[in-house]
Symmetry: C2
Subunit: 345 residues, 2 copies
């Protein structure tokens, strides 16, 4: 048991969340640090000191790092992380050198998707599509029990699929991206506009945020909706509607058995999921002639990313030799059942 | 050699194309039949008689059938085929009973995608996304050397991803589907409208079609474009532009190394592909920080479907016992190298 622990690290724009994760996905110990700066060297320092602290109490086998950004297909380099201002940062090798442990780096949504497949909402599914609604939209695909990253490691960027030609300007440089219509950013934008316009609800939101428009965030809308506020509920439903339309698009392409909805906006629960399901059923192509995917809320909450990163690192550390296709299949089968892969004879 | 042949059958709305296909994807013999009616029984009769004819000269091991429609995940039943008016047609077992051979049924685009991966444009790729532009848009996904069909068998229906909210009405019942903007149907629609409006180009097209508006088809536009006609070239480029935008969406989700463009509209070749590439490079999210997928024309032409169906049937017939994960991996590796899978020790 003791040799089956891994550290999971989730690097966000403002904080680092870390945990010691066992082979059942349980978090045995936790640490949080403010991301002191986005300077890569200081983040690596923070990861090293967190790991050192965990190692006093636990026998750690590997480190998994989830980061909000494009990670290359070899799970070693962060190609592009807008919030961290990183470009081609060789995070895996830097952390491995500092800690002497095997390290794996992945996109934070990929890590969360893996966790939901292994320990959360999609434990008995062959495939899974995870959609995280935070400020933007993140995504992950698990196919046949394997995280699917695409040829270059950047699959699952669902938020930047165009849903409205010449639509709202997106931070990615394009127009009409899905995350401009179905994410926390939409709620924040509407809330700040209402505050600026001085509507009744806007005034409430402004008061919630201590009188500063720029401090109004989408989660305030969610809180009002959960307390029964009609306008807030309608805003969440609008996000849910766009969520369902986009899910129908993904179902046309990928036809998974289950969509799992995570991220902060999923706190709205049925206020979000029910309208999404309705829009999905209304717009799915071939409806009536096919089985429909289930749409469920994620189970693991904000720790999904660190749990998944740790688990992937733990599994990968076991098979450090170049694996044959047969060995890969056994690892896959083991990942599914939770048992160790048998050595080849 | 002689025991490695399979029959491939491509069932279209108006004709059945069939061939004897060897393990290298070569078509050794061909037959075409008008689809006498869309009555399933008569189609099965036609398949049986075609197979009988092939068997006089060749030792056939299996039959692969590609059909334009939703095929279930067990590759046995056509769930829904609008052009054939089939609903839940158990085609595999019916043909197997009549012929005494193992039979596999798949969506025609899935079959074509498999053929392009095995023998065509994507032979050295890990993954492939095929987009066929015919009257509508078909699609197929190959991941890690395996056709990816989704949980219910219906993955790859890219044509019905919504790209314009409240856009053009689609035959599927929705509005704004991608195939309403990037397919042969678009060319046909514009050509017929021009003929009805009596524009100069419309008059030419009407003459090409013998004076009957309803006989004007998209391929006439392609022919004019290839002959240098400016307006025809622009129409093809417009389709290419929408093709590129949709490919950027698929790249955001799937990030494959290669997109292969097939179907009748791909006859326009660079007149279609160049504008598609331009639109793709212009709209791909994260451009500049990532490798870009290649976009290439399919290699196998209209026989891709029957070649792929035959090849899948041949490979599947080899592994009729329920396969272990290890055996599946060996079949996969064998499919990639063209060698027979080794029996397990």
């Amino acid at each position: 048991m003791a040799d089956k622990l891994a550290v999971g690290i989730d690097i966000g724009g403002t904080k680092i969340a870390a945990g010691v994760v066992d082979e059942d996905g349980h978090v045995l110990a936790r640490l949080k640090r403010e991301t002191p700066t986005t300077e890569p060297l200081e983040v690596i320092d923070a990861i090293a000191s967190i790991t050192e602290e965990f190692r006093r109490e636990h026998h750690i086998r590997a480190i998994g790092v989830g980061a909000a950004g494009f990670v290359d297909a070899t799970q070693s380099t962060v190609l592009f992380a807008p919030h961290l201002a990183w470009r081609h940062e060789p995070l895996r090798d830097s952390v491995a050198r500092r800690t002497g442990l095997p390290v794996l780096v992945d996109n934070d949504a990929n890590a969360a998707g893996w966790a939901e497949w292994r320990f959360g909402a999609a434990q008995n599914e062959a495939d899974l599509v995870l959609i995280t609604l935070g400020t933007g939209i993140g995504g992950a695909i698990v196919i046949d029990g394997q995280p699917y990253r695409g040829q270059f490691g950047i699959a699952g960027e669902f938020g930047h699929m165009q849903v409205v030609p010449n639509g709202n300007k997106c931070e990615c440089g394009n127009h009409g991206c899905w995350e401009q219509y179905a994410s926390g950013r939409v709620l924040t934008r509407r809330a700040r506009a209402a505050a600026t316009d001085g509507t009744e609800f806007g005034k409430q939101l402004l008061a919630d945020a201590g009188g500063t428009v720029d401090r109004i965030e989408g989660h305030l809308v969610t809180a009002h909706a959960k307390a029964g506020h009609a306008e807030a509920t309608e805003w969440i439903a609008d996000v849910g509607d766009w969520l369902g339309v986009g899910i129908a698009n993904l179902a046309a392409a990928l036809d998974p058995g289950m969509f799992v909805i995570g991220g902060g906006v999923s706190d709205a629960d049925r206020l979000l999921i029910d309208p999404a399901r309705a829009a999905f059923s209304r717009t799915l192509t071939g409806r009536g002639y096919r089985a429909e995917a289930r749409i469920v809320r994620a189970h693991l909450g904000p720790e999904a990313g660190l749990i998944g990163a740790a688990d992937m690192a733990r599994i990968t550390a076991r098979r450090r030799r170049p694996a044959s296709p047969g060995a890969r299949a056994r690892v896959r089968a083991a990942a599914r059942t939770g048992r160790s892969p048998k050595p080849r004879r």
